[in-house]
C-alpha cells in the first residue's frame, strides 16, 4: 500500500513536468487561466494557442491512439498530465466536452472521412464541439427527448430536417459542431426511436440563447432548431440506433475523472475558521471535522479508484459518490460559514478570488450542482441499482410507443 507513482508513472510524470516547465506559464493564483483578464474572444484565441501546443506534444488527448494524435496512454497517465498541468496556467471550459466526449463518439461511429476531417482540427483547438442531448422535458430521463428529425424525402440518404429545442448546452455560443441526439420515430418505444447526428452549429435555423441562472450569470444555453437541414452523411450509427451511440458518449463522460468543481474545500474552510479564531468553539470544531472527513474521504476514495484504474479496471458507477457528497457538503459548508459570520456575509464580496467570494459562489452554485450532471436522487438510484444490485425503478413507459406514453 502506498501513494507513490509506479516507476512507469514516475517517468511519465517527469517527462510531463519537463515539457510544462518549457512550454507553460506559471499560475499567479488558483483560478488563473490562459488569457485571464482578456475579453472573451481574445481569451478564446489564447486558449486555442495553448491547445495547439498541447496537441502537438500529444498531451491534448493522452489516452487517444497515436494515429489520432494522442499518446495511446492510460487513464492514469491522463490524470498525471492533468495533475501537473493544474499547477500551470491552462484552459478550462472550451475543449473538454469535444475531446472528452464528442470526438471519441465520432471515432467510434464515424467513417474514415469524418475522422480525417474533424479529429485533428478539434484536437488542435481549431474547431470546438458541444453536446446537444438534454431537453426541457428530458433531463434525468434522457431517452425521453423530443427533438424531431424527419427525412426531407422518403428515401435512403435523403437530408434530415430537424426541429425542437435543446437545453443546458455548455459552450454552444462558441462551438463549431454539436453532437445531436434526435427522435426519428415516435411510434416505437422511446429508446428505439432515436438517431444521432452531428451538426454544423452555423447551420441556418439554429439559434443559441444563454440561460440566465438564479444568481444572474449565464453558463449554459438553450439551442433552438427550426427547420435545420442535416445531411444524412452526418448521421452517426444507424437510424433508430441513437441510444446506443448516446450511451457510448456518456460512458466517455464517466472517464473524465478528477474534474474540478470549483467549490469551497474543507481546506479553505480551515483557513477561514483559523483566521477567525473560531476553532476553539467545540461546535465549530466538530463541524470542521465533519467537513474534513468528507473532503479527505473523497480524496482517499479517489485514490482507491485510481488504484483500480491502474490495475486495468474501467471507471464504474462507484464514481457517483463524488458529486453526490461534494455538492451537499458544499451547500452545508457555505451555509455554516455564513451562519458563523452573520448578516455581513450576505454582502457580495467583489474580490472574486477571495475565500469569502468562494463561499458565496459555492452557496449559489451548490444548489445547481446537486442537480446538474445527475440529481442527488438519480445518483442514489445509480448506486442502489448498479452498485448494490437492487431492483430498478418501475418503468411504466416500458415497451410503450413514445407517442402513446401519457403526456
Amino acid at each position: 500500500m502506498n501513494f507513490e507513482d509506479s516507476p512507469q508513472e514516475a517517468q511519465f510524470r517527469a517527462t510531463v513536468r519537463e515539457w510544462l516547465a518549457a512550454n507553460a506559464e506559471p499560475k499567479r493564483h488558483p483560478r488563473d487561466f490562459v488569457g485571464d483578464g482578456l475579453p472573451a474572444d481574445q481569451r478564446l484565441a489564447a486558449a486555442r494557442v495553448w491547445q495547439a501546443k498541447k496537441a502537438a506534444a500529444g498531451y491534448a488527448a493522452v489516452t487517444w491512439p497515436r494515429e489520432f494524435g494522442g499518446l495511446g496512454g492510460t487513464p492514469i497517465q491522463h490524470l498525471i498530465y492533468l495533475q501537473e498541468e493544474s499547477k500551470w496556467r491552462s484552459t478550462f471550459g472550451y475543449f473538454e466536452i469535444g475531446i472528452g466526449m464528442c470526438l471519441p463518439t465520432l471515432m467510434a461511429y464515424g467513417n474514415q472521412h469524418h475522422k480525417d476531417r474533424y479529429v485533428r482540427t478539434a484536437l488542435y483547438g481549431e474547431e470546438i464541439w458541444c453536446q446537444l442531448f438534454s431537453e426541457p422535458a428530458a433531463g434525468s430521463d434522457l431517452a425521453g427527448i423530443r427533438m424531431r428529425a424527419r427525412r426531407e424525402r422518403e428515401q435512403e440518404g435523403s437530408d434530415w430536417m430537424v426541429d425542437g429545442q435543446k437545453v443546458w448546452t455548455t459552450g454552444a455560443q462558441f462551438s463549431d459542431f454539436g453532437l445531436l441526439l434526435t427522435r426519428t420515430d415516435p411510434t416505437v418505444p422511446k429508446h428505439a426511436g432515436l438517431t444521432m447526428f452531428f451538426v454544423d452549429m452555423k447551420s441556418a435555423g439554429i439559434e443559441v440563447r444563454p440561460i440566465r441562472q438564479m444568481a444572474g450569470e449565464s453558463e449554459f444555453n438553450e439551442v433552438f432548431f427550426t427547420g435545420v437541414r442535416i445531411p444524412d452523411e452526418q448521421r452517426l450509427g444507424p437510424v433508430g440506433g441513437g441510444w446506443k451511440v448516446a450511451l457510448t458518449t456518456l460512458m466517455f463522460e464517466r472517464l473524465t475523472v478528477g474534474t474540478e468543481l470549483g467549490l469551497l474545500t474543507a481546506q479553505s474552510m480551515l483557513s477561514l475558521l483559523a483566521d477567525r479564531g473560531d476553532l476553539s468553539d467545540p461546535a465549530v470544531a466538530e463541524s470542521m471535522a465533519d467537513a474534513w472527513i468528507v473532503d479527505e474521504g473523497l480524496r482517499l476514495h479517489q485514490c482507491r479508484t485510481l488504484t483500480a484504474l491502474s490495475k486495468g479496471s474501467t471507471p464504474g458507477p462507484e464514481q457517483s459518490i463524488g458529486k453526490l457528497l461534494k455538492a451537499r457538503q458544499a451547500q452545508r459548508m457555505s451555509t455554516f460559514l455564513m451562519d458563523l459570520a452573520g448578516q455581513g456575509s450576505l454582502v457580495v464580496d467583489e474580490e472574486t478570488d477571495s475565500l469569502w467570494s468562494s463561499v458565496q459562489r459555492t452557496w449559489n452554485w451548490s444548489a445547481a450542482l446537486r442537480i446538474a450532471g445527475g440529481t442527488d436522487q438519480i445518483l442514489r438510484n445509480i448506486i442502489a441499482e448498479r452498485v448494490l444490485g437492487l431492483p430498478e425503478e418501475i418503468r411504466v413507459d416500458k415497451g410503450i410507443p413514445f407517442n402513446q406514453v401519457t403526456k
Binding site: 440566465r212 444572474g216 444548489a367
Partner: protein, 363 residues
C-alpha cells in the same frame, strides 16, 4: 384549549393574501430582484408595499390616534405569514417589526407624533441597528456596515444591549449611504456612515433590547413560515405536473418522502410560531424561550423547504425564470437577520438551564 387564530384574523389574512397575490406575483418579485441586482439598495416593491399600507399592515400595531389600525401581535403575525408567502421585497422587518415597534415602546411623544402617522401610511420607512451607542452629546459619528433597507430608510433606530436607544433622521447632513450588492437582492442593505449627525435619545425601559428582538423574531418566524409553506406548495405543484420516465415526478418515493419531511418541519415551526405570537400578545414569561424556538425552527424549516424545493425542480430550479430561487435567497437572508440559529440555540440552552435551576432551587 384554543391554539389557533380566530376566525376574524383568518378572514383578515385571507384578504391580505388575495391582495398580495394580485399585487406581488412572482413576476413582480423577479422584477424587483433583477432591479436590486443592478441597482442595489434602492429596491422596494411599490405595489406590495402599497397593499400593506392600504390594508393597515404597516400600521397594524400603531394606535388609531396616529392613523394606525391598533391591532395586536396576533394580527400582525398572521399578516407576516402572508408577506412571506409571496416573498414580498418589502422592508417589513426593519421598518414594521423593528423600527415601528421601537417607536411604540420607546419613542418619545414627539418622535411618535412625527413618524408613526407616516409609518402607518407606508410613506416612511424606518430601519434599526443593534449596536453600542457612542454619542458625543447629541451628535453621533458611526459606521454601520450592513443596514437593512439602509438606502431608502427615512430614519434609523440604534439600540444597544444595555437598553439605550437613539433615533436618527436620515435626511440630514452628515449621512452618507453606500448601497450594497447582496446575495438576496429582495432584502437590500446599505452601509451607512454617520458623521456627527443629530441623534435623538429615546425612552428605553429596561429589557427593551431583548424584548424587541424577541417580538421581531416571532414576526420574522411567521414570514419564514409563509415562505416555507409556499416553497412546499410550489414544489408540490411542479412535481405533480412534471413527468419523468413516464410518471409524474411526485410519484417517486424519494420525492414524496422529501416533501413529507419538509411538511413535518413546517408543522413543528408553525406550533412554535403560534406559541411565540401568543406569548408576545400576552407578554407571557414564556416569551424569550418561545421566541427563540420560533426563530430557530422557522429558520431551519424555511431553509430546508426552499433548498429542497429547488432541488425537486431539477434543472429548471436554478434558472432565473423559476419561481423558487427567490425563496432560496430569502431563506438565507432571513436566517441571518436578527442573529443566526446558532446564537439563538445557545440562548435556548441558557434559558432552559436557568429554568431548570430555578425549578431545582424551588424544590
Amino acid at each position: 384549549m384554543n391554539f389557533d387564530f380566530s376566525d376574524d384574523i383568518k378572514a383578515m389574512t385571507a384578504e391580505v393574501r388575495r391582495a398580495l397575490e394580485r399585487s406581488c406575483n412572482m413576476a413582480e418579485v423577479r422584477r424587483c430582484l433583477e432591479d436590486g441586482m443592478f441597482h442595489p439598495g434602492g429596491l422596494i416593491s411599490k405595489p406590495a408595499w402599497g397593499v400593506l399600507a392600504e390594508m393597515g399592515v404597516t400600521g397594524a400595531r400603531i394606535p388609531e390616534q396616529w392613523g394606525g389600525s391598533g391591532l395586536g401581535m396576533l394580527e400582525l403575525a398572521a399578516c407576516a405569514e402572508e408577506i412571506g408567502r409571496v416573498c414580498a421585497p418589502v422592508p417589513s422587518l426593519p421598518s414594521v417589526y423593528l423600527a415601528t415597534e421601537a417607536l411604540l415602546h420607546s419613542g418619545t411623544d414627539s418622535q411618535r407624533e412625527r413618524w408613526l402617522p407616516q409609518l402607518a401610511r407606508g410613506e416612511a420607512v424606518g430601519s434599526m441597528c443593534f449596536a453600542p451607542i457612542d454619542a458625543d452629546g447629541e451628535r453621533l459619528t458611526a459606521r454601520y456596515a450592513a443596514v437593512p433597507a439602509g438606502a431608502v430608510a427615512d430614519f434609523l433606530v440604534v439600540m444597544s444591549a444595555d437598553d439605550c436607544a437613539v433615533l436618527i433622521d436620515l435626511h440630514q447632513d452628515g449621512v452618507s449611504r453606500h448601497p450594497l450588492r447582496v446575495l438576496d437582492p429582495g432584502s437590500p442593505m446599505a452601509e451607512l456612515a454617520l458623521n456627527a449627525v443629530r441623534s435623538e435619545p429615546m425612552n428605553c425601559p429596561a429589557g427593551s433590547y431583548q424584548g424587541i428582538r424577541n417580538r421581531a423574531a416571532v414576526l420574522l418566524a411567521f414570514e419564514q413560515l409563509g415562505g416555507a409553506s409556499r416553497a412546499l406548495d410550489i414544489a408540490r405543484d411542479y412535481t405533480l405536473q412534471r413527468k419523468t420516465f413516464g410518471r409524474t415526478v411526485a410519484s417517486y418515493q424519494a420525492v414524496k418522502h422529501l416533501m413529507a419531511d419538509v411538511w413535518v418541519k413546517n408543522e413543528i415551526a408553525r406550533g412554535h410560531a403560534y406559541h411565540g405570537a401568543w406569548a408576545s400578545q400576552t407578554n407571557d414569561p414564556a416569551l424569550p424561550l418561545a421566541a427563540a424556538c420560533a426563530r430557530v425552527s422557522a429558520s431551519e424549516a424555511f431553509e430546508f423547504a426552499a433548498r429542497e424545493a429547488l432541488q425537486l425542480h431539477g434543472g429548471i430550479g436554478f434558472t432565473w425564470e423559476a419561481d423558487i430561487h427567490p425563496f432560496y435567497k430569502r431563506s438565507r437572508s432571513t436566517a441571518l437577520s436578527l442573529g443566526s440559529s446558532r446564537e439563538w440555540k445557545r440562548r435556548i440552552a441558557q434559558l432552559l438551564h436557568r429554568q431548570h435551576m430555578t425549578i431545582a432551587h424551588e424544590l
